[in-house]
């Protein structure tokens, strides 16, 4: 504990410095006095005695210095000294300080803001118990492609594995809540009883499902509801337990309310029912027997790793089980593997690449800012050369000087960080509003302690960089040289070497950013201008639910098409049709199928083909061309053999060079009992999942709603004559008038849908463009600074060259040639950098290659222009000077 005592007394000494100093003075003088008297007693003269006493005592000031170092905190005293000195120096050159702080503030601010998003989205733990051990288990089809899970496979996995503490299955879906209030569509999850304990969530009111409730099919019609739904529909009724909730026209008993903020794994759910009750909510699909059918891949599976079991071990064990199941059920499981992935993947996967790209972009901005400030410091330190030389000569150690510079730079970056964090604080809301809104509900972007620590570390690192960089160039210099030489000529040499590096670096960094932004913006323009295959203007989509029990037989099938016919007569409507997809939100079903006369089609290949059911008039309403054969009509009903249409890409893939009309396909294997369906027509390719979609790679089989086996919900597509936005409300009201019990939701114009679909590319492109512009601005300022300083330094040289007969044109060429060389070097560096960086961006790009020659050429030319301009302007100024003045220029 003695060090503590020493530290304490030193700390005390630090604060009582003045008193201790006085005490020491008194003490030492009294000592000298005694010594002097003793000497006098020995017979010396007073003069002699005092002198001898001094000698015997040793250097008074040295002793005091040692004493001082020991009684206080010399480190802090030096620090205080340095800070005071640095403050004085910085205040003395307010222009430099302001520019440096502002530049650093932009760099640090941008980094802080983006980091706070990265931290909130990528680094925040998920709101589940011990998320590190939580994994998703998926089936896989070929090359690691994830597929949902067939329930019987889940049951077997759960029974056979030894690597998971527990597993749970669930499925997310939509339901219509009706009864007490007006009916509405809610997102829901059908969950196994293990689901809630696995996530570590228990009901806020009541209880979760029991194992019994999840093992007896169709016996316990119980439901859990979300906190929001409880507040909204039940006015936070404390006596909620035991009340009824009508879901898809079936009554469930509420047994619990989940805690506030819990929206299930799907992050949107408000109602939960036991897995084994799904046929009550969806009687239409009861025939498929989800719980025992190994060919329905619908469920999501979660599992908790046993302590000490790694992801790899779990994967290996699950593969063994999957192989066993493939042998036991060859028909369904032949190509089915298994894939264990951490749950974080589900939440951050789509954000990781773009956010890291943005983080990289702002890091580049900061580097450019650093280069600019380093250059400022360099030119400034050139002017301080003699000061440094004198201090070195007086005995200051180099480390002492470096320490002082570090203090100075720390002050600069600290001021920059404070300004930057303030900037980030104001800009964060704007940033979040620009970023895609689809972040998980539990992420909250804010400037918390972690972000502030990040900003501080960044500021400190920046200060190091700023200290090390100029120090590198002054470390090996000779004091005598500096003292003898004039400040200008030394700075000229050094400034030129360092300046070159800075210019090359700035050009390179700015180019990388600009190429990245350019590629994104070009992708965006492709997304917005490439034709989706249909005419998206004046088009509205409204989704609705078809009540199962209300309609019998083909009445259910006719519901959508009849609704479309009635809406088509509504004022302002040109035409209307029904489809069961929700454009750009849900693109249809993928099911295994066979083509007559074609080799069996693998699961992976079948997964690329979408099945959609549409009503009559769909292709006309969407303005999709019918290329061959005919459109569906009202006559294609349940009473006649099944017919289908296919997209152009489907026809090209399976019947190249043949007439597809009259060919036959069926669901399942060729020898299954499913009926053959005859192709009656071919339609043009369209995008329906997303604007990034390649319709050629995702062909469509169209069935008609009039022959559908399962009708649950569908969308009405309406082409309007009047502006579509104004039609949203009237159309919705008209549909409610036709059937008040039918909830209408997901109402939007196609332009809105497509706008949302491109929102990500738009906002990332916007941000990257913003940072690239900032980088370009900073780089231009920096390059100009370096170049003009450098040219000014050479004024004297110019004068000499001019007197020896060089023409101003020669000198211009000389200087600009040098600038162009640097620019080209920077462009080369940038090209290399962007080649490496842009690979991280491929998921964000659309219809552009990572190397776009035109874009690259244009940006490179622009940057070279900036450099040339930065040389030309100061060169012209230098040239105007009379040679004789230039020679004297000092």
């Amino acid at each position: 504990m003695n060090w503590l005592r020493v530290a304490f007394s030193r700390l005390l000494g630090f604060f009582r410095k003045r008193r201790l100093e006085k005490d020491l003075d008194v003490e030492l003088h009294s000592h000298l006095e005694l010594l002097t008297q003793e000497n006098i007693r020995r017979g010396m003269s007073p003069e002699e005695a005092r002198y001898a006493a001094r000698r015997e005592f040793g250097g008074l000031e040295q002793i005091k210095e040692i004493y001082r170092d020991q009684h206080g905190l010399p480190f802090f005293e030096t620090l205080v000294q340095d800070v005071r000195y640095a403050l004085r120096t910085l205040v003395k050159s307010p222009g430099f300080t302001a520019v440096a702080v502002l530049t650093l503030a932009l760099g640090i601010g941008a980094n802080t803001a983006i980091f706070s998003v990265v931290k909130a989205v990528l680094l925040r733990p998920l709101p589940f118990k011990d998320p590190a051990r939580l994994v998703r288990v998926n089936e896989s089809v070929e090359k690691g492609r994830r597929s949902p899970v067939a329930y019987p496979n889940y049951v077997d996995w759960r029974a056979q594995n030894a690597v998971f503490e527990e597993m749970a299955a669930f499925g997310d879906c939509e339901m219509i809540v009706s009864g007490t209030d007006k009916s509405e569509r809610v997102y829901c999850e059908q969950a196994s009883d293990t689901y809630f304990p696995l996530l570590g969530v228990s009901a806020a009111i009541g209880r979760a499902f029991t194992p019994e409730e999840n093992s007896a099919p169709m016996k316990y019609a119980v439901a859990l509801i979300g906190y929001g739904l409880w507040e909204r529909r039940y006015a936070s009724d404390p006596a909620i337990l035991g009340k009824m909730i009508r879901l898809n026209d079936f009554d469930f008993t509420i047994i619990g309310v989940l805690p506030k903020g819990f929206l299930g794994y799907s992050d949107s759910s408000e109602v939960w029912i036991p897995m084994v009750m799904r046929d009550a909510a969806w009687p239409q699909t009861a025939q498929y027997d989800f719980l025992h059918n190994r060919d329905i891949h619908f469920h999501k599976v979660l599992a908790r790793l046993k302590p000490g079991i790694s992801l790899e071990t779990a994967q290996a064990e699950m593969e063994t089980i999957a192989a066993r199941l493939a042998r036991a059920y060859p028909k369904d499981n032949r190509q089915r593997g298994v894939l264990v992935t951490p749950v974080t993947e589900d939440y951050v996967r789509s954000f990781r690449a773009p956010l890291l790209v943005l983080l990289g972009a702002v890091a580049f901005v900061l580097l450019i800012a650093c280069a600019n400030v380093a250059n400022l410091i360099l030119t400034r330190s050139a002017a301080r050369d003699r000061e440094l030389a004198i201090r070195l000569a007086l005995g200051a150690s180099r480390s002492r000087l470096v320490r002082q510079f570090l203090t100075e730079n720390l002050l600069l970056t600290a001021a920059g960080a404070v300004a930057g964090v303030t900037l980030a604080f104001w800009g964060l809301d704007l940033l979040v509003s620009v970023l895609p809104v689809s972040f998980p509900s539990f992420t909250h972007v804010n400037l918390d302690g972690g972000v502030l620590v990040f900003a501080s570390v960044l500021a400190a690192a920046t200060a190091m960089l700023l200290t090390v960089f100029p120090a590198l160039s002054s470390a090996h210099r000779n004091i005598n040289e500096s003292l003898k030489e004039t400040a200008k000529s030394t700075a000229g040499l050094r400034g030129r070497r360092m300046g070159r590096v800075l210019v090359v670096a700035e050009v390179g960094l700015a180019l990388v950013l600009m190429i990245g932004a350019g590629l994104l913006l070009k992708s965006l323009s492709h997304l917005l201008t490439d034709s989706p295959g249909f005419r998206p203007d004046h088009l509205v989509t409204l989704r609705f639910y078809v009540p199962d029990r209300k309609y019998e037989g083909d009445g259910r099938n006719r519901f959508g098409p009849q609704l479309a016919e009635r809406i088509a007569r509504f004022p302002g409507v040109e035409s209307a049709a029904a489809t069961f997809i929700d454009p750009f939100l849900w693109g249809g079903l993928q099911r295994g199928f066979s083509v007559e006369g074609h080799a069996p089609i693998s699961n992976a290949e079948a997964d690329t083909v979408y099945y959609q059911e549409v009503g009559p008039n769909y292709f006309h309403t969407m303005d999709i061309p019918i290329l061959q054969g005919r459109d569906f009509s009202m006559r294609d009903s349940l009473k006649v053999p099944l017919v289908v249409m296919v997209s152009e890409s489907f026809a090209r893939r399976y019947w190249p060079g043949q007439d597809p009309v009259g060919k036959r396909i069926k669901y399942g294997n060729a020898d299954s009992s499913n009926p053959w369906m005859q192709v009656i027509g071919v339609s043009g390719n369209i995008k329906y999942n997303s604007l990034r979609q390649d319709p050629e790679a995702e062909p469509v089989i169209y069935g008609t709603l009039l022959q559908s086996e399962v009708i649950i919900n569908m969308s009405l597509i309406v082409r309007t004559r009047t502006p579509p936005e104004a039609m949203l409300v009237p159309l919705r009201e008209e549909m409610q008038r036709i059937d008040p019990a039918t909830p209408v939701y997901n109402v939007a114009t196609f332009s809105q849908r497509m706008h949302e679909d491109s929102a990500e590319t738009r906002s990332y492109g916007l941000l990257l463009g913003l940072f690239a512009a900032l980088a370009l601005l900073l780089a231009a300022v920096g390059i100009y600074g370096v170049m003009s300083y450098w040219v000014t330094q050479r004024t004297r040289e110019m004068g000499i060259r001019l007197t020896f007969g060089a023409s101003p044109g020669d000198l211009h060429r000389l200087i600009i040639g040098e600038g162009v060389r640097l620019a080209l070097l920077g462009i080369g560096t940038g090209a290399l950098g962007s080649f490496l960086v842009n690979r991280a961006m491929t998921t964000l790009l659309y219809e552009v290659k990572p190397f776009e020659p035109v874009l690259f050429g244009a940006l490179a030319a622009a940057l070279t222009g900036v450099v040339v301009l930065a040389c030309y302007v100061p060169a012209r100024r230098a040239m105007r000077v009379e040679p004789i003045v230039a020679l004297r220029y000092e």
Binding site: V6, S9, D23, S30, L34, L35, G58, Q70
Partner: protein, 114 residues
């Protein structure tokens, strides 16, 4: 390279000061310096001023404490005295010093013997 005087003296000087205060009771800096010179018979040549950083060090360790008093010539002077923990420290240091010197003695004798 020979160790500098400071290095050589630090531990030794501490021990000497502690022993001096133990033997003579409270003393001021000058008194301690005089005593050391007497005892060492000028073997230990040190600037008297060096004593003060050492005194500060010992005081910071809590082995001695100081009080203002009046010197023989009626001037204000600081008197240092040994604390309880200083006494303990002295005993410990002395013991280890003796062990060390015994060891050195044996070593050097042995070296001579061969």
């Amino acid at each position: 390279m020979a160790p500098s005087r400071g290095e050589l003296l630090q531990g030794t000087l501490d021990l000497i000061v502690l022993k001096t205060l133990d033997a003579l009771g409270p003393l001021h800096g000058y008194g301690i310096a005089v005593r050391i010179q007497q005892v060492s018979e000028d073997l230990l040549k040190l600037n008297q001023g060096t004593l003060y950083p050492a005194l500060l060090r010992l005081e910071q360790q809590g082995w001695i404490n100081s009080k203002w008093g009046v010197s023989e010539n009626n001037r204000k002077a600081k008197y240092y005295s040994l604390t309880r923990s200083g006494r303990k420290q002295l005993a410990a240091e002395a013991a280890s010093w003796e062990r060390m010197s015994a060891l050195m003695a044996r070593l050097l004798q042995g070296a001579e013997g061969t």
